[in-house]
């Protein structure tokens, strides 16, 4: 794998972040191909969420580079990273509870992002169509005008995924999307992710091995801020190092 290979949509190289000397992520490299679903697994404290924080700019890297479609992200502001096509879903559903489902999606719609633009923004047919289309994908068509606070936990997770989809990002990062979901909701979410990857590259953090097996193209196992193993789900499941630190528990 040549690092300068432009076939990768995301190329993370030698990424290190140190919090007062503690290296939460240590010399990590990760390459994602377009339209791939990559799942990161690993024990608690392995640095999985920190990797997503680093890619989306929430945390600044101490060393290393993150190239997204050839552009360096480590020096960009958060909103510019988003605008260049990286979407991030947080672990706890972060939605706007006081707004309706429609308004949640509309606020996420990628137009009128400046102060003046937001003042002049008009809810035209194009916006309504985009919102309705995404609502259909995330199974919330019937709830467009309900306040988001009234949604179930699973529906809130879907809504946040929808808020990312409407921005049409090239890379979608999801932090534990099925945590706290019922079995039926998990199945629907897996189906949703399958639909999403037709047009997006997806990077997922997940603990549920059943779910990981359902969705992943490749799996990266992290341990103590480093990559422990990488490959297909069957490959990592049989890796003795992985069994030792993660699956064995």
């Amino acid at each position: 794998m040549s690092p300068s290979n432009n076939d990768f949509i995301l190329a993370v190289e030698g990424l290190t972040v140190s919090f007062d000397g503690f290296k939460a992520v240590n010399d990590l490299s990760l390459y994602l191909e377009p339209k791939e679903i990559r799942v990161i697994i690993g024990p608690n404290g392995a640095g999985k969420t920190t990797v997503l924080d680093l890619i989306c700019g929430k945390t600044r890297a101490t060393e290393g580079s993150i190239k997204f479609r050839g552009k360096e992200l480590t020096r960009m502001s958060e909103h510019n990273i988003v605008r260049s096509g990286v979407g991030r879903k947080f672990q706890n559903p972060s939605i706007y509870e006081d707004l309706t489902v429609f308004e949640n999606l509309e606020v996420s719609y990628p137009a009128g992002r400046s102060v003046i633009g937001a003042l002049a923004f008009k809810r035209d047919a194009e916006v309504i169509e985009a919102v309705e289309e995404v609502a259909k994908t995330i199974f919330l068509s019937d709830m467009l005008h309900q306040e988001a606070a009234l949604l179930s936990h699973g529906q809130k997770q879907w809504l946040e995924i929808g808020m990312l989809l409407i921005q049409k990002p090239d890379l979608l990062m999801l932090d534990e999307p099925v945590a706290g979901m019922s079995v039926a909701e998990r199945k629907k979410t897996a189906e949703l992710l399958r639909v999403i990857t037709e047009n997006h590259t997806v990077l997922v953090i997940e603990h549920d091995m059943q779910f990981v097996g359902d969705i992943a193209d490749r799996v990266t196992v992290m341990h103590q801020g480093q990559v422990l193993s990488e490959g297909s789900i069957d490959h990592v499941k049989q890796d003795p190092k992985v069994i030792e630190v993660y699956l064995g528990h």
Partner: protein
Amino acid sequence: MKANRFFDWLMSREGIYYVLLAFLLVVIFPLALDAFRLNMIGKYLTYAFAALGLVLCWGRSGILSLGQGIFFGLGGYCMAMFLKLEASSPENTAIQSTPGIPDFMDWNQLTALPWFWEPFHSFSFTLIAVVAVPALLALIIAVAMFKRRVGGVYFAIITQAIAAILTILIIGQQGFTGGVNGITDLRTLMGWDIRTDEAKTLLYFVCVGMLFLCLIIGAWVMRSKLGRILLAMRDQEDRVRFSGYDVASFKIFVFCLAAMFAGIGGAMFTLQVGFMSPSFVGIVPSIEMVILCAVGGRNSLLGAIYGALIVNAAKTFFSESFPELWLYGLGVLFIAVVLAFPDGLAGLYRRYVMPLENKLPALLRRSGGNAPTLPVEETK
């Protein structure tokens, strides 16, 4: 088409609330009150400008400013400087050792008008300065704070500190500012005596007009996508940031807008009351403005106006009868509002009166009256 939509809005429930307020301020108060009391209402309403700004800034966006008195004061001082220069014509000040400069400068041995007073000879410059000076200071504060992601309690404390600093500065620079007495003995506006009852009544209507202008701007901002982004930002700032918005620029905008509203309020205060002093700039008036907003309902623009009227009327009443107790009363009121009804009067209204209103058309119909059908539109 446009006019039609405006008419529809006017007949909606929200529109009727605006019409009722306009009716109260433009018809009922002027008919029911004498010139002195009407002038007092006008003075109360000047605080409503600051409260409107706080609804946008605090209620809507979660940015608590304990320094709106700064901007109220700056707007007021800009207007007072113009009026003072007009009152200090060489003929009026012939007995001074340096005629033609404001009296307090003469008492402080100044022999020439300071440079920053010069532009205030121009009325058009003054009108611009009334909004531009508060907006500029707000811009500096907001850029310095929000770009560094200072927020919450820290921001509130810093605004309060700036209010204190500005008061100390004004009092200390007596020769330039009139010191603790402020700028007093204001007489005419472009030759028109503002001290007569007729002038005060007219200024009251100007104040109401400006208030409605700010109210409409505020309502427009709240209804725009920007208004929804502000609300979203209050609840989930990170989600907004990671949806591609530069959160700081939205905070800067709303803080500057609130400062401009307060500045207009300050200028209207100076015109109606006839002087401006540091006691309207500092910490106590700034906190009073937050209380007005909280009592009225920090999420409701109309609530802020009613809050300003009611709390100020109570202040006048109680401080006439029990001057020492008023401040304690105000504190108790604030604690009571925050603990017992955080959405203020507007929240109580929505909870208890609106359900009755919904039943109203049906009741009227039963009694044979011609009930207007109110299109029910939830106001947020």
